[in-house]
């Protein structure tokens, strides 16, 4: 499965289900009730931020020409293929934080232990099983969707044409 996380900000109710399921997906047990008792506690890679009354779930955009990949001195940050995630090899990460500095979106952070950086990995293991990322599956309003760029382009075009013809936003 390949694609990008599409965000419809109009639909986000800031319930933070994406944050919760992201942490569960990155836990040892992958089970909510068990994950809350794990040590160390699993960490989320998405954060619902609010800007001017809009709630926006922020996570790594998996840039195709990623500054974090370019700047990493140890080759710990790696972009697989087009529309595939940017991943961090924990063993190679020396915690220099260059990637944090160059990320245009501020979606890379240090882990709880402060040893390595963490970021959204697009749930690459789920993608292998043809499952969308956990945050997408958890979103009750479908504000988060997993789509290929072609699908997103098509949707955008349709929205534009409808607006052009009727003067109304597509709902």
């Amino acid at each position: 499965m390949r694609g990008i996380i599409f965000i419809d900000v109009q639909k986000c109710l800031a319930c933070k289900s994406c944050e919760l399921r992201c942490a569960v997906e990155h836990s040892k047990s992958k089970d909510l009730q068990q994950a809350i008792g794990e040590y160390p506690l699993p960490e989320r890679r998405v954060e619902v931020e609010t800007v001017a009354e809009l709630a926006i779930p922020l996570q790594c955009r998996q840039c195709e020409d990623a500054p974090c990949v370019k700047i990493c001195p140890t080759g710990a940050v790696e972009k697989l293929e087009v529309e595939q995630p940017v991943l961090i090899k924990e063993q190679l990460c020396i915690g220099c934080k260059w990637c944090i500095l160059v990320c245009p979106f501020g979606v890379i952070g240090m882990d709880r232990g402060g040893k390595a950086v963490i970021k959204c990995d697009l749930c690459f293991e789920r993608l292998k099983d043809d499952k969308p990322p956990a945050c997408v599956q958890a979103c009750p309003t479908r504000a988060l969707q997993f789509k290929t760029t072609e699908e997103v382009t098509e949707k955008k075009q349709r929205e534009y044409l409808i607006k052009f013809k009727t003067g109304k936003e597509m709902v």
Binding site: C15, E19, L20, R21, L32, Q33, A35, I36, R44, A138
Partner: protein, 644 residues
């Protein structure tokens, strides 16, 4: 999800397939669409009690750890849980109140279709309530009993009358802990007050009051519902009947009652025998009028009249999907709003009857006790007249139906063990003392698509009886076990361990005993008191080798039931955890520390076999503390199907 993964019941599997073909949404489909469900809600970490919020606590400790008011995960989880108890206790108690109301109206001569059917029980209740019976008119006694019981709902201080049925040691503990319920409604109101913003912020204090509220249900509202239903409609006696969707009939008018209260359904049973209505059915091309039930209103008329049961909670939509239900009458509780859309796919007429429970777009025939018989006849007439609208091609009645024996009560069954002429609990106690019986377990509660339909109930019951544990069942658990054939006396030969089999054989009872509807869980409390009173097994309920379980629970009523059992001293295992796991302290209190406080605690275990063994271990521990003999056939050979 494949059909076999949804339910172990063949009839349900068959109809789920039909529903899918016809594009009918069922609870399973809606559950799948809802997954993953809100994790904050699941863990009990979401608070909507005021509009400083909604607030939620991040269980992974990155986000907020306190609500806007400062409430911690402990406070929030405990508050949410006792609100569930309050709602559950309210539902049972309001049911009890309705029955008390019917009894009062009947005594005043204002009803048609009701009379006191169990005079003996009326008199014994009267003397328990301190009401004189000698030389007094029955009507007067009935009125006074009803009034006295009625007053318990609004009672402001003192103690509930039926709580005095508990062993003295238990009552003393309740008083010491300050959880002896003062009135039924009062505790529910106080639970709502305490959980209002900025009142009770101490999780332990909240849970303590939750126990008091629940005790007001078990030893108040629910017990009143059971006792007065026995007075009005008769105390059940063992009888044979049939269960599952196969009880619906191809050539008769099928009227299905669904909900919880016996007030209307019992009159429907009488009215359905009206020759005029039967004649009308014939004129409409039907061979007769067939009644069947779903959920606890079904259990009520099964226990007293042997009316067949069509199914349990998760079968309500499937019953309509047979295309053979001409009318489904509903009253209160556990009635899915989805029914109205399923009914639209068929000719089935859905009729709501309670002023408390209406459905948009559904025909409402309001029930009033004063005109019960008239209303019952009106509804039956509607069913009869709808028979001709049945679409033959859409009728799919599964062939599955199972025999069962129901109608056991605290009065009947265990005294049966002693025989007609020396009615006593002695043989039951002796059975446990001698080790022929390991102990007893009550399996109760709902269905929930999170657990394979009926699987939790049936597997648990089989594992327990195999280990010589006598099982009593109520509600949807009773229906699940009935469908699996465990309520037949023959089931003892097939599934029970040697000791339990010997007892079932001697007395002629099944190894799994149906003791009624969900308010009839109070019959289990009374039974436990009787066992303690009979002697030899300690002097409190918490000392008995018994346990309780709700493997497929979902309702707030189940929360209240679970709490009144634990607060009465019964170790209780739940299939789904309470939504409190987000609070370590509340979880610790409920699953461990409560044992030191009330002599019993909760366990959460979704695997019914593992859950059965938690209870067996608990029973063994209790037997050890009572210094009972070892279980008689502990190391017996593996029980094989039907073979000695």
């Amino acid at each position: 999800m494949r059909e076999e993964e949804k339910s172990i019941d063949k009839a349900s599997q068959e109809l789920l397939e039909i529903a899918e073909k016809e594009g009918i949404d069922t609870a399973w489909d809606r559950y799948e669409a809802m997954v993953p469900q809100c994790g904050f809600g699941e863990l009990g970490l979401c608070c909507r009690n005021c509009v400083l919020g909604p607030c939620r606590i991040d269980p992974f400790e990155e986000g907020p750890q306190k609500g806007v008011c400062g409430a911690t995960s402990e406070t929030i989880a405990a508050r949410n849980l006792i609100r569930m108890i309050a709602a559950g206790a309210a539902a049972h108690s309001d049911h009890g109140r309705d029955i008390a109301h019917t009894l009062l109206l009947t005594a005043q001569g204002k009803t048609k279709g009701y009379e006191v059917k169990d005079e003996q029980k009326l008199f014994s209740l009267a003397s328990e309530l301190g009401i004189k019976t000698n030389g007094r008119d029955k009507k007067e006694i009935t009125m006074e009993v009803a009034e006295k019981v009625f007053s318990e709902f609004g009672q402001q201080h003192g103690e509930l009358q039926f709580s005095h049925r508990a062993p003295g040691k238990r009552q003393a503990l309740w008083r010491k802990l300050g959880i002896m319920p003062r009135g039924i409604d009062r505790e529910i109101v106080e639970a709502m007050h305490r959980t209002n913003i900025g009142v009770d912020n101490d999780y332990e204090n909240l849970i303590t009051h939750g126990m008091r509220t629940a005790l007001g249900d078990g030893w108040g509202g629910s017990m009143i519902a059971t006792e007065l239903s026995d007075v009005l409609f008769g105390t059940p006696k063992p009888l044979r009947a049939k269960v599952n969707l196969g009880v619906l009939k191809q050539d008769e008018v099928n009227l299905v009652v669904h909900g919880h209260e016996p007030t209307l359904s019992d009159v429907i049973v009488t009215a359905a025998q009206d020759p005029e209505l039967i004649e009308l059915a014939r004129k409409n091309g039907a061979r007769g009028i067939n009644l069947a039930g779903i959920c606890c209103t079904a259990n009520e008329i099964l226990m007293r009249h042997g009316i067949p049961i069509a199914g349990n909670f998760l079968q309500q939509e499937l019953a309509i999907a047979t295309g053979a239900v001409d009318l489904m009458l509903v009253d209160v509780q556990c009635i899915m709003p989805a029914l109205s859309s399923v009914a639209k796919c068929f000719h089935t007429k859905l009729v709501s009857t309670s002023p408390k429970a209406k459905f948009p777009g559904v025909e409402h025939v309001e029930f009033r006790e004063e005109e019960a018989l008239l209303i019952a006849k009106k509804i039956i007439r509607m069913a009869v007249e709808n028979f001709k609208n049945r679409v033959k091609d859409k009728v799919n009645i599964p062939k599955e139906k199972m025999d069962l024996v129901a109608g056991f009560t605290a009065e009947s069954v265990f005294k049966f063990l002693g025989g007609k002429y020396r009615a006593t609990y002695r043989p039951l106690n002796d059975g446990i003392l001698s080790g022929r019986l390991r102990g007893a377990v009550g399996i109760v509660g709902c269905n929930n698509p999170k657990i394979k339909h009926d699987w939790g109930h049936v597997e648990m019951a089989k594992e327990l009886i195999k280990n010589d544990v006598l099982v009593v069942v109520t509600g949807c658990s009773a229906i699940a076990n009935a469908k699996a054939g465990l309520l037949k006396p023959e089931a003892a030969f097939q599934y029970a361990g040697k000791g339990l089999k010997e007892i079932c054989e001697a007395v002629g009872v099944p190894p799994v005993l149906h003791v009624g509807s969900c308010v009839d869980n109070s019959r289990i409390l009374i039974t436990l008191c009787n066992i303690v009173a009979e002697g030899g097994l300690g002097d409190d309920i918490s000392e008995l080798p018994v346990a309780g379980a709700a493997p497929e629970w979902m309702s707030e009523k189940a929360v209240s039931i679970a709490f009144y059992f634990v607060a009465s001293g019964v170790f209780t295992v739940l299939g789904n955890p309470f939504p409190i796991l987000g609070s370590r302290e509340v979880t610790e209190l409920l699953t461990r520390r409560l044992e030191e406080i009330v002599g019993a605690n909760f366990a959460f275990e979704s695997d019914p076999i593992k859950a059965a063994h938690l209870m067996i271990d608990h029973i063994n521990k209790k037997r050890e503390s009572l210094k009972l003999k070892p279980v008689m056939y502990a190391e017996r050979e593996k029980v094989t199907f039907g073979v000695e």
